[in-house]
Each structure stands twice: as structure tokens, then as C-alpha cells.
């Protein structure tokens, strides 16, 4: 799966697509996160009007074996939530960068976008992570996400 060049990314595997005209950020999780989770079962998303704080959890995603926090990449207010996902997680599995978007946010401080990773930086981060994993022998049945 090709990752969009013009999106921003986080170390906690969220992506951000910023619409400068509308001053709106669409947020989702990356194909890497979806693959790691495998067998998606449930997602907990915030409601329109909820506030997000950069770095704080804004929801939960659950697979058969794990639960993971969704971490807010930006501070702002939720203006739209992808309602289709509640009943069908397939679009998240199949198109995490398009139809599988999670929420749309009005950022209170667009400068925060600069702290996010480019696609190149994210992919370098994933490579480094893979190297670290190879060195560590202590993989536990509970934390293989």
C-alpha cells in the first residue's frame, strides 16, 4: 500500500491530512497500525464538539488480541466523525488513508503541524523500530502490537 506523500504522520501511527482552505485536519491511522492490530473488532471515537489535546488519547481501537489508544496529533475541536466505521471496519482495513478516516478536527494551533513527521520521516521511524524489535528478544504475548 502506498502512503500519501502529502500527509503528516506520528510515532503513534496516526496520519493527518490538512486542508489549508477549510482550516480542517482529517485524522486516521496508518496501514502499519492496521496491519499490526489485525482482526479489528471495535473502535471508540469521540463526538462532534469534543475537544482534543495533542498527545492525549481521543479514542480506542480494539482487535481480537489488543486494545490501543488513538492519540491526538493536534489540539482542537472535533467537527466530524466517520459514522460508517461504527458498523463496518472494512473501510479502515482496506483504505486507511481514504475511506477509513476517523475524525475531522479544527486545529486551535496550526503551528502544531510542523511538529509532525513527513512520510519520509515516518518510514525511517518504522525502519528503526523494526531494527530495535529484532534486537529485543523479550516479546511478550500481551504486547506484540
Amino acid at each position: 500500500m502506498s502512503r500519501p506523500d502529502d500527509y503528516k504522520y506520528t510515532e503513534t501511527h496516526e496520519w493527518i491530512r490538512y486542508n489549508d482552505k477549510k482550516k480542517e485536519a482529517t485524522i486516521g491511522i496508518t496501514d502499519h497500525a492496521v496491519k499490526q492490530l489485525s482482526d479489528l473488532v471495535h473502535i471508540d471515537l469521540p463526538k462532534t464538539g469534543d475537544s482534543l489535546e495533542q498527545g492525549a488519547p481521543f479514542g480506542e481501537i480494539e482487535s481480537v488480541k489488543t486494545v490501543a489508544d488513538l492519540v491526538a496529533p493536534l489540539t482542537g475541536k472535533v467537527v466530524e466523525v466517520n459514522k460508517d466505521l461504527a458498523s463496518d471496519l472494512d473501510s479502515l482495513k482496506n483504505e486507511p488513508y481514504e475511506g477509513g478516516w476517523l475524525i475531522r478536527v479544527k486545529p486551535s494551533d496550526p503551528a502544531e503541524l510542523e511538529s509532525l513527521m513527513s512520510k519520509k520521516e515516518y518510514e525511517e521511524f518504522l525502519e528503526a523500530d523494526k531494527e530495535d524489535e529484532k534486537e529485543s528478544e523479550d516479546v511478550d504475548e500481551d504486547d506484540f502490537v
Binding site: 482482526d39 471495535h42 480494539e62 486494545v67 516479546v139 511478550d140 504475548e141
Partner: protein, 355 residues
């Protein structure tokens, strides 16, 4: 310094296939290959293939072995004819569970197949309680154990291995040209467990896969056994629970001559709490330890919970007061701070159609 996990003879086969490996009680095992739900479906609808070489295989020998086993196992060993497999327990004096296992009754010796997590504990415990000339040896590392499971597992075994265990009754085993095969499993489907020397494990695995068996990992093993309401040691049973609380009376012969734990069970034949099945309204999964509430008060806790691919529901097992075990009771499960509605159901959650 940290000890490295054991590897089964099939470790490299799993890695080459792209399995996600984890440390499972000191063994490096595949949790999944293509995905838990996909592997689960393969077992329910066709044939899946599990590597069970991590499970403890303890061989019991000696003229006095049956007298020894009669004292340490909960089943009536005198009624075990050669070729029979029986589910049984090793218990503490308090009637709580040391391990659950399957005993394979032979003519010259018997085999106990035990949980990987308890292999060393069981071996020490059995040796401590040995009597007469009975001996207990650990064969785990010499013999691989492959488990083709599913409605098409019989034809897959016939095609792949050129042997026909079709005549075996459920929970029986036999020797097929030097290959011991039992008709046993932990999935709720028809299935077999094939014992091969470690050196032949990879070849046997590849033949079964070529014949259509889908590699399946511990993730699917867990969703399958939970649907079939089969207990997992450490989750549903342990040294604080009795087999009667877990509803596993069928594997306890309370009226046979004395065995370790018998009197404690006889003193409490109708325990106050019993293992019950829950189906949640939400898709959120009830995980081990989550509290269960009835009419506002705490009633018990979840022991196992997972997603049921067959029912497409979140299901769980929990110890609840005996009265709440009746199907249709409404309870709530605290799932990470939020109470989710659930109702009790009759177990198992899934039962295969008898053909």
C-alpha cells in the same frame, strides 16, 4: 541475562511463512499467520493446522503406573482400555487444579499431554507423588505434535500422510504404521493430533499444508476453544478453582477410590460459584479480570473473553453465583471503566453439527 525461549521443531517453518511469533510461557510460538479470524474460519469450515509441540508430553511407565495414576488423576483409571484418551485433572489436596490434561492409555505405558505452561510443575509434582516402580519421563523435546482440525481434517490427513484414522472414535488413538494419531482437539470440531519424531516434523507439516490444511496460530486456537467453552489453565482454571466450579464434573469420578483432592471436592459438591457464559451487547471484548455486576452489585469476574468470529459477538466466561448461571440473566461487565450489558447463555457458545 535472560533465558531464551524454547523453539519447536517447526519454528523455522513458521518464520519462513511469515508468522507473528511471541513468547508463550517460554516457547517461541506463532500467534497468527494471515489473521486470527481467517484461521479460525479455516478450522470451522475446512482444515486448519496447529503446531502443538510446545505441549508437555510426559510418559508414565512401570507395572505400578495405573495404581499411581489412580491416586493422582481424577478419572477412574481402571476403566481405561488401551487406545482411549480421557480428559482429567491433577488436583491439590484442596481440590483445586494443578493442571488439566489428556491421558492416553496404552498397553505398556501411558502418556499425559499437559499444558506447556505447567510442564515442569507437573513433572516435579508427578515425581513427588510417584509410587511403586512407576516412572515419569519428559518426551516433549523429542516428539513433535501437529494438530489438523476441522470438518475436512480427516480427508486432509488421508491425502497428506497416506494413513486413515477414520475408524477412530472421538477421544481414541491408534498407531498408524508407526505414527500415533488421536482423534482429539481443542477446537470443538472433528480433528486429529499426530505425533512424529522431531526430525520429521517439517516434512509432515508441509505435506499437510500442501493437502490443504491452513496454518493456524495460538490466536485462533484461543477463539476456537472459547467458542467451544473449553477451559484454559491460568484463565478459567487454576490453583484457586475446583473442576466442579468450572462445570467439569464429567472429568471427576467422585465415587472412585481415594485420589488427591477427592475429599475436598466431596465436602463441597455444589459449589457456590460456577463458570457461566456471557454474550455482550457491545463489540468491546471482556478481558480476563474484568468485573461482572448483577443488579448493581459485583457478582464475579471474567476469566476468558474474546471475539467470536462464528457468532460475530463479544463472548466471555466468568465465575458467577450458581443462581446466575441460568441462561437469560442480565448482567453488566466493566470494560475499562464503562459498564457493558451482557446476558448469560447456555454453554457452549458453539457446537458443531453431528454428522
Amino acid at each position: 541475562m535472560t533465558p531464551k525461549p524454547h523453539r519447536t521443531p517447526l519454528h523455522d517453518v513458521h518464520v519462513r511463512r511469515g508468522a507473528r511469533m511471541v513468547d508463550f510461557h517460554g516457547w517461541e510460538m506463532p500467534i497468527q499467520y494471515r489473521g486470527i479470524v481467517e484461521e479460525h474460519a479455516a478450522v470451522r469450515n475446512g482444515a486448519g493446522l496447529f503446531d502443538l509441540s510446545h505441549m508437555g508430553r510426559l510418559r508414565v511407565r512401570g507395572r505400578d503406573r495405573r495404581a499411581f495414576l489412580q491416586r493422582v488423576l481424577t478419572i477412574d483409571v481402571d476403566r481405561l482400555s488401551p487406545g482411549r484418551c480421557r480428559y482429567a485433572f491433577l488436583l491439590t489436596e484442596k481440590g483445586t487444579v494443578v493442571d488439566d490434561l489428556i491421558v492416553y492409555a496404552g498397553a505398556e505405558d501411558d502418556l499425559l499431554v499437559v499444558n506447556a505452561s505447567n510442564r515442569e510443575k507437573d513433572l516435579a509434582w508427578l515425581r513427588e507423588h510417584r509410587s511403586g516402580d512407576a516412572t515419569v519421563e519428559d518426551e516433549t523435546f523429542e516428539v513433535a505434535l501437529l494438530a489438523p482440525q476441522g470438518p475436512r481434517s480427516l480427508e486432509t490427513v488421508r491425502k497428506a500422510l497416506g494413513l486413515d484414522p477414520g475408524g477412530l472414535g472421538y477421544y481414541s488413538f491408534g498407531d498408524f504404521g508407526g505414527v500415533p494419531v488421536s482423534r482429539t482437539g481443542y477446537t470443538g470440531e472433528d480433528g486429529f493430533e499426530v505425533f512424529v519424531p522431531a526430525a520429521r516434523a517439517a516434512e509432515t507439516w508441509e505435506r499437510l499444508v500442501a493437502a490443504g490444511a491452513v496454518p493456524a496460530g495460538l490466536g485462533a486456537r484461543d477463539t476456537l476453544r472459547t467458542e467451544a467453552a473449553m477451559p484454559l489453565y491460568g484463565n478459567d482454571i487454576d490453583d484457586t478453582t475446583t473442576p466442579l466450579e468450572a462445570g467439569l464434573d464429567f472429568a471427576v469420578a467422585l465415587d472412585k477410590p481415594d485420589f488427591i483432592g477427592r475429599d475436598a471436592l466431596r465436602a463441597d459438591p455444589r459449589p457456590a460459584r460456577r463458570l457461566a457464559g456471557l454474550v455482550l451487547e457491545s463489540r468491546r471484548i471482556a478481558r480476563h479480570g474484568y468485573e461482572v455486576f448483577h443488579a448493581g452489585s459485583k457478582a464475579g469476574a471474567v476469566t476468558s473473553g474474546t471475539w467470536s468470529p462464528t457468532l460475530e459477538k463479544s463472548i466471555a466466561l466468568a465465575y458467577l453465583p450458581r443462581e446466575l448461571r441460568k441462561p437469560g440473566q442480565e448482567v453488566e461487565v466493566d470494560v475499562r471503566g464503562r459498564r457493558e450489558k451482557a446476558r448469560t447463555v447456555k454453554l457452549p457458545f458453539y457446537r458443531r453439527e453431528k454428522t
